[in-house]
Point group: C2
């Protein structure tokens, strides 16, 4: 199992970043307390994805913050990222692990309590509980797990858990109290006027409620 701190996990989204670069958002967010960063990109060429990943890696490396690539194992390999995050419609987990090796972080999204149970048979490094609440960031139509789902999964999972979907300063305390080890956010940081302050506020709620 690879060590990773999922307390405050930033997932990028250029469309929601109010025109600001990944670099700016990420640097500010890390100053505010973000512990991991996931690069998520859809509908861009592989070369563009690769270039963004290289840039982000240069930003994160000196700060000692792991770069996790969403979905694309090729990009994770190409930039030697610290890890890969996969969902249920991405590459099968065992294939990803075989190719990436045991020293890379692999996170898996689970969308139901049953999927979380199955994940207990896998040596993933964390599971993403997705979505906790309904959200406009992702357009998948999955039934939210809600706090009850988090509690239920936290009661049996052997993995670190990070909740994602519709999380903000208003509901973070409840999510952590329900048993999640951390929160993953997009707009709660990238769309905020001051991403550093936003991260700082979220981080202090997470830490206080652990």
């Amino acid at each position: 199992m690879n060590n990773c701190d999922v307390s405050l996990y930033l997932v990028t989204d250029r469309e929601l970043s109010l025109g600001r670069s990944h670099q700016y958002i990420v640097e500010q967010a890390i100053k505010g307390g973000v512990t991991m960063v996931q690069l998520r990109e859809k509908n861009i060429s592989t070369r563009e994805f690769y270039n963004l990943a290289i840039e982000l890696k240069q930003t994160l490396k000196p700060l000692n913050i792991p770069l996790i690539i969403n979905d694309r194992l090729d990009i994770a390999l190409a930039v030697d990222a610290e890890g890969l995050h996969i969902g249920q419609s991405d590459i099968p987990y065992h294939i990803a692990r075989e190719i990436l090796g045991k020293n890379k972080i692999i996170g898996l999204s689970v969308e139901t309590v049953e999927q979380a149970r199955s994940a207990n048979n896998l040596d993933v490094d964390y599971i993403g509980l997705s979505p906790v609440f309904s959200t406009q960031t992702k357009h998948d139509i999955n039934t939210p797990l809600e706090l009850e789902g988090i509690q239920q999964i936290a009661s049996f999972t052997k993995h670190k858990t990070v909740a994602i979907g519709g999380i903000n300063t208003q509901n973070t305390a409840d999510i952590i109290k329900a048993g999640a080890d951390g929160i993953a956010v997009v707009s709660a940081i990238v769309s905020q006027k001051d991403p550093r302050q936003a991260a700082c506020d979220l981080k202090s709620i997470v830490d206080k409620n652990k």
Copy 2:
């Protein structure tokens, strides 16, 4: 340099296949003389791409026809395909070679005479000359190389060349006479009523004009 026969190279396209499966098209096309098959998919999930690649590999393996994956190095690795085809907006060639190793086929699309010249510095296994003529299959708006471009590139390239874009039974002879080692086609096979006969017709024109 990995050996590959680019004489008649089939590139898949589900939308143009008149509702018929990859498996059907590919089996028929190979009976007709296709020497290589490239799986090209856009706008599907990684898992769907992976599943299609696995299926296609099972079809091709016993027939001893190499499976080449378009763009996605992760899929090529995941299904242990025989090779990868990359374009100018895909992963950089040297990264792909480093990750795939020297025993896999890597093809690179070149869109200009200058790019073909640069490719002489790379140990790619073939270059795709793209597009030869204008085509409706790909929506990139590149100036076609035309027969003059093929001739020019054939005069200096150290690589095998396969022409793609707008190729049919009417212009295949001219392309081969201009110096291409083979042709890559989509609709000239996948959209034909009888893909086996279509492949057979194209193959015999290629072979006669070499």
